[in-house]
């Protein structure tokens, strides 16, 4: 059981502003849980909890990406709150992921609200474009980014510093089976993310590769995933050159097929 001091609350808010802008712009990927949790751990003076929470939350969020314009549950709030809850209440990080989720959903909906309401700025932007008013145009873009940044700071300050006692009481009042349930869910949760990845990537002709990766990791236990990534790289290079050769032979047989039509 630990307290978050006022200063730490402010530091967390400042960090949230930085990684929040990074998420908004999709810049350096500082917004991924593995970085957010580590930074949170450093601020709280408990880097170990930060690292463990980071590893777990990163995996749980691996498939939850904003690719294609869908906004996933917010990875920043998930990261900050998983670490903070594990730190303040002393429960396992696997359990804390579940308790962090409501905060993650809250921030997801705030961002969705901004995505919709920022449409109103576009008429103004059109006017500036018409007038070639570059400075006003730049200010408008800074304003929207600043609104998002400030929101992250405020939400994180309230979720961490202000809400910590309520969170401790909540965790203490939870029966064991409920805590255990959250822990199990934390372990199964990556399944949803991996399902998301497979939804985008898995075409029937790629099933062999899924099986190979699965078999390899099931029967050759190793502490990290590098060996599987290497097997995947080998397969990818093999296919790449096979396709290239195929394409080259096709153009050779076609004899500059594009000319024939003329």
């Amino acid at each position: 059981m630990h307290e978050i001091t006022f200063i730490q609350g402010l530091e967390l808010a400042v960090m949230a502003i930085i990684v929040g802008v990074d998420f908004w712009l999709e810049g350096l990927f500082l917004f991924r849980p593995i970085i957010v949790c580590t930074l949170t751990g450093i601020i709280l003076g408990d880097i170990n909890t930060g690292l463990i929470a980071g590893g777990l939350t990163e995996l749980a969020f691996a498939g939850l990406t904003p690719a294609g314009g869908t906004q996933p549950p917010n990875p920043i709030l998930a990261g900050v709150m998983t670490t903070v809850i594990a730190f303040t209440t002393g429960i396992e990080a696997t359990t804390a992921i579940g308790l962090a989720l409501p905060f993650s959903f809250l921030m997801q909906y705030i961002i969705l609200f901004y995505y919709s309401s920022f449409s109103f700025f576009m008429a103004k932007a059109d006017t500036y474009a018409e007038e070639a008013n570059m400075n006003a145009f730049i200010r408008l873009n800074i304003l929207t980014t600043a609104i998002v940044a400030l929101t992250y700071g405020i939400v994180v300050f309230f979720s961490t510093y202000v809400a910590q006692n309520a969170m401790q009481e909540l965790v203490q009042s939870m029966p064991t089976w409920l805590i255990h349930g959250f822990e199990i869910a934390g372990g199964i949760l990556p399944g949803v993310g991996f399902g998301m990845l497979l939804k985008v990537m898995l075409k029937i002709q790629y099933i062999p590769y899924l099986i190979i990766g699965f078999l390899f990791a099931s029967f050759i236990p190793f502490s990290n995933l590098l060996p599987v990534a290497l097997v995947g790289t080998a397969l990818a290079i093999y296919e790449y050159f096979r396709d290239k050769a195929q394409m080259a032979s096709q153009t050779a047989i076609g004899g500059g097929g594009s000319n024939e039509g003329i």
Partner: protein, 265 residues
Amino acid sequence: MKESNALSSKDLTKLGLYSSFLQASFNYERMQAGGFTLAMLPALNKIFHGDRQKISAAMNDNMEFINTHPNLVGFLMGLLLSLEENNEDRSLIKGIKVALFGPLAGIGDAIFWFTLLPIVAGISASFALQGSIIGPIIFFSVYLTVFCLRIVWTHLGYNLGTKALERLKDSSRIISKAATILGVTVIGGLVASYIHIEVLSQIAINAEHSVSIQKDFFNKIFPNILPMSYALFMLYFLKRKRISPSILILGTFIAAIFLSFLGVL
């Protein structure tokens, strides 16, 4: 094919960095249009020597809907500016922009979100879970490199000009296929390594003996059969039933808590 190079190498490097503002005013109506226009302003100003009419025309065109990939958008910006500089027809420039932003988004998503992220996340998380700071350091280094490559793509787009189009079309399919193969293999490994389902239930045969469902049943069929089944179960809901991931996350929690209450898991 270019008469003059209005933009210096330094201008292009700056353009690559400014391209990071792509989503500064993201919204559902025009998506990245505001940031897309913003990033090109200094370069446009230089190309048109502050001619307000020309700048306004270019800004108006760029304010139309666009949604592409932040890591690769510099390529598109460089290409478009090389056309602007040659005083190409406005409708041609617009046409190329509209034709390219979608495919670029597709390649970018396939490479950066669906291949690179699971691999880097999987590897760095495996270090972090052992309490090693190497995990986040690997993660950060990889994405710092990816970020710096934005500058390279921008130079490439500008220097190749329209020549780039053919090349892009030819190799993008093969590259994204190879990337997908690598990604799918790693996901297979991730499923086996990072989904944890352990059935606690035991079936009592008599007073002394009982059969553990996990050890004597599932592990005998195939280790990790439950994690793989769960991932495929989720895939089915996401793809065939079009259920949102948020609902599936909540469902996972409700199911886990219920099964914990019953003592099954």
